[in-house]
Symmetry: C2
């Protein structure tokens, strides 16, 4: 099966690598604006053929993945559909779906969004296993040809992902809250903290680990994110309004010094977060260990190595360094009760105080 | 010098350990409600003497640290002052200062707040180096006896901290934004995401790494945090109002699809965060490396070990696992340009694609 990949970066490159590794008869043809990037993708094995034109890329293709940035996807999909054969399925990988699906009204088009790998870019970071176990949303409409939807669905599954059909508007509402809103909140928090420290004439050193964790995603790559924000502005605007309502509620409970309401709200958040993290984990409920470690390099390595050697995977990890930013307390999230118990014993055996959080 | 520590948990225990290790003539006497906890602290070496009563603890003490929970500090400080000699300095370690300082009007009292170690609790996690390099706020008033302020200042410095005098109200405004607000936002985000997934009848698995990072501090221990929230409700309420104003601004720029304003806002957040993180680091500007790693245990350990062996300290670390929650991309924050460059070479030498973020 000939597969065209338009735009060979992290996602396009990973589609190519996965297809070539996992689909026996796949022939992956790449096309993109930069001949240098295309050649690099070919050398890295992400594509077999670097096409000289869009027409060449689509020639004989049974499926085409549009992997451009969100703001360019409408034009890319239209061009691909114009060049593609009548029985070629065209899909995309953008993280906002409703405007694109509404604009590209063609029975050969299936909107798509693999939930994977937004943290790096470039074909150098492409991996054949990027989509392994990842949800890959598909947003077919009443017009979509059944045979082509089935082809994209099967293809995405063979890339290792879990294809999941969803209404485009529902998809965008979901992403607005789950992905785009956290970025907005991190941006707002960073700006507010910086402004407060400036106003109070306090050194910028006065932030702590809670600030660091809460703002890790602040100021994400504008070249990617402004497109996403604007493309999903309706749903994101509504999500922000909902956040404002919730903040007003918290502020009112505070003003009333309503300890019971605040405890309910706080405990509710703790429960919700546990529920959400647990659901993400195949290995069972997630357990959090808090380990006190001395301030020297190599300690975290030793910890991770010891658990790794025992076959225990650390689902997530967070360091809470002392104010001098060397280590202090490390939180480890381990999936599964027995793995967590073994991890706790191993860590204790290394001489570090460890507790369940 | 006889030092009384009232409430021997993480902070009180660390004060005891640090004093006994670093102050030659220190004799640390502990007192607390639970005889078992007190005995454990004595066995762990955090205190030398477990006092049988408050009067016994204060008898002959030159300094007293009140280490109870925020909501109990006023009573604890009053009781300590009633039992203490006329030349004994009494201080506390609570993270909200203005209400306490206003309530405890005594020339022997100096409000205090070491910015350290909120991530664990219990004397088992106490460490002699917990305050090493940490800011320790002191909030003297016009009434405070100079000789006693000087004693507390010097004492806190000898525990390894950097004593920093601050107006109590300024302290509370600062903490409201830098520490308490991130917790509020994390709580709100978790609740909103959970409610959205429920409303949309979507599986709870549909969250990603940005959500996980942004909500790490959600649902912090209610027994500690409700006290803090309520005690600092005025400043925190104003910080929340400011957040609401900022969110309204972002929402309006979104509604107007104002790409320029959004890019300015987003790039501003990126710049602010870099500025804040850099300021925290003794070793120079912080650099972020993004490393793609295969999905198997031990890889992160190998990375950390390799850097540790080269004497490169990882200031901060974040895993962005693929949807199956095993590893995927790991972000490493390294202080200092030359250390970051060496780290990049070492990681590349291990065969992992690595890029500056």
């Amino acid at each position: 099966m000939r597969i065209a990949v338009l735009g060979v970066g992290l996602i396009g490159g990973s589609i190519g690598l996965a297809a070539r590794e996992r689909i026996e008869d796949a022939e992956v043809v790449g096309y993109g604006r930069s001949p240098e990037r295309l050649e690099r993708a070919r050398k890295l094995g992400a594509i077999e053929v670097a096409a000289g034109s869009l027409a060449e890329a689509l020639d004989g293709a049974e499926a085409c993945f549009c992997c451009g940035p969100v703001g360019a996807l409408e034009a890319q999909a239209r061009d691909a559909l114009a060049a593609a054969a009548g029985d070629c399925a065209v899909t995309d990988v953008g993280s906002v779906k409703a405007p694109l699906v509404a604009a590209v009204d063609d029975e050969r088009f299936v909107g798509g969004h693999p939930v994977a790998g937004a943290e790096t870019s470039g074909v150098e970071h492409a991996r054949a296993d990027l989509f392994e176990g990842a949800v890959w949303y598909l947003t077919p409409t009443a017009r979509t040809a059944g045979v082509l939807l089935e082809r994209v669905h099967r293809l995405v599954g063979r890339l290792g992902a879990r294809p999941t059909a969803i209404d485009p508007a529902a998809h965008d509402r979901l992403m607005a809250t789950v992905s785009h809103l956290p970025h907005v909140l991190a941006n707002v928090l960073v700006a507010q903290v910086a402004a407060t420290l400036d106003d109070e004439r306090k050194p910028l050193t006065a932030t702590g680990p809670s600030f660091r964790d809460a703002t890790r995603v602040a100021g994400a790559n504008s070249a990617i994110w402004i497109d996403i924000y604007i493309s999903n502005r309706e749903a994101l605007g509504r999500a922000i309004d909902e956040t404002i309502r919730r903040l007003e509620g918290a502020r009112d409970d505070l003003a009333a010094a309503d300890a019971r309401a605040l405890a309910e709200w706080n405990d509710g958040a703790a429960g919700d977060r546990r529920r959400l993290l647990e659901a993400q984990l195949a290995g069972g409920p997630v357990h959090e260990l808090r380990v006190s470690v001395p301030n020297r390099p190599g300690v975290i390595a030793q910890l991770a190595l010891e658990l790794g050697a025992a076959g225990i995977n650390i689902s997530d990890m967070a360091l809470y360094p002392a104010a001098d930013m060397s280590e202090g307390v490390v939180a480890l999230w381990i999936a599964g009760e027995s793995a967590a118990r073994r991890a706790q014993d191993l860590v204790a055996g290394l001489g570090h105080p460890v507790a369940r959080a």
